[in-house]
């Protein structure tokens, strides 16, 4: 749905992150929320009906960008800059409490 202008300008991505396990190139300045908009099927599923949502506001006030980041659930993706090697997983509905 979105692409980075950098993709056409730079030869190499600035970093690599893992989205649901898949290696994904990423650019400086990107957040977890921007990755959710670039990669299909990682938007959170609501804990109410289970429907899929994608980041809506990018300024910390809608909570549609929740994701599991490096194992930590319910992270607000739009406030979390990407880091090389970061693992991002889809937040699925009502999450499980780790054993």
């Amino acid at each position: 749905m979105f692409r980075s202008v950098m993709a056409g300008l730079k030869e190499q991505a600035d970093m690599t992150v893992y989205v649901n396990g898949v290696e994904t190139p990423a650019w400086d300045g990107e957040t977890v929320a921007s990755i959710l908009l670039r990669v299909p099927n990682v938007g959170r599923q609501t804990p109410v009906s289970g429907e899929t949502r994608l980041p809506y506001c990018q300024m910390g006030v809608c909570f549609e960008c929740l994701a599991v980041v490096d194992g930590v659930p319910s992270v607000q993706g739009c406030l979390m800059p990407l880091k090389d090697g970061m693992r991002i997983e889809r937040q699925r509905g009502r999450r499980e409490v780790g054993q």
């Binding site: 202008v5 990107e30 506001c57 300024m59």
Partner: protein, 457 residues
Amino acid sequence: MSYDVVVIGAGPAGMAAAVQLAKLGISVCVVDEQPAPGGQIWRGVERNATSPVFKALGEDYQKGSSATAAFHAAGIDYQPAAQVWQIEDGWKVFLTAEGKSRCITAKAILLANGAQERPVPFAGWTLPGVMTVGAAQILLKSGGMLPEGDVWIAGAGPLPLLYATQLLELGGKVAGYIDTSQKPSLKALSHLPAAWRDFPGLMKGLRWIWKLRRSGKLVRNTRNLRATGDGQLRQIEWESNGKTRKRDVGVLLVHEGVVPRIHETMALGCDHDWNDQQKYFAPRVDQWGETSRKGIFVAGDAGGIGGWKVATVSGEIAGLGIARFLNIGIDAEKLRREAALDDGRKRAMALRPLLDALYTPPQTPIADDVVVCRCEEVTAGRIREAARASAPDVGAVKAATRCGMGPCQGRQCGYSVQALVAEVNNLPVGDVRFFNIRPPLKPVTLGEIATLQDVEA
């Protein structure tokens, strides 16, 4: 940690205030949930200075470079990527950063936490593919992200126009633009002479419109915009001249103005006033930016929408106001006069009455099947039903429907619920109170709370 002042928000207002305070020798800590200073308008300005998007973002954006440079040069304690989740009396500020919470104390607090876009529910607004114009602009500023496919914009106000021009400049495309603003009223036009005082600002607005007209379609006088698709936005439809129009779309960006962030001031119990023209609450402040609670100050958009120039001046004024409050032996009135801050504010405000009169929030009733509370998925119909069965009280409606109980804590549905309760009870919207805001201001883990040090039960 203990400071004279904690400033929440490193946007134009917070930075200007912090610089002012530091100059007067007052110890200050600035906290912001973003990873870098600049606030909404200057998101990522430091990093973008060397980026190809920098030029396209325009002059106002580029001015952020000097503001952030001055901020860094002032030697201020700055805590980025930190969310304030609770403020307690005696001014204890609880914040979380990197998964750990702590408390800092201060004699005064400045809330310079800015604005959020006004949420306007319509059918399909929760579909992936629909987001706000502000969100798209932030994506542009933080990674150079451009929307792909058929991009439609629907909304009113200067922001969609600005974003469209930025997008076109970077090689993006706008497939269509639905202008939802009302026809300018005589009242709006009567503000024109004052607006001329801010001549460069006005010219910029006109240039945006010209560029847009040349580049794509402009649709006006529409009703009942809907976004449709099965789990993903596919089409938009609207009515115009009695006919239903449909278009295939990839991305729909919406915008109906911005409103102050009031959860913090509401939770602190500050008095608020209802702005009936722009349909929002704003904390009531005195001429120094102090709220009804002694030691709690507000500057920038958090106190009422004014734009970044007003935010900067109001930050400087609040800085002086706080110095006055702390009684450090300065003549705040004199400094205020010498810096001609009130003239500066007047100039920066010149365009505002025109904008406010031109772009009033939409007043069309929300259809029953539209989801109003995104978090708990509560429709307008259920909210109306609950409102009919209870007192004219958003609290009762919240209790009956769970609207406003999700993680966003009513930031998306608050004004809509208020409007629906008013509608059902036939009351002016401003006569209905806002949600009772309960802590935490942002969801925080139980582990962080459990491991807080030195708190008394």
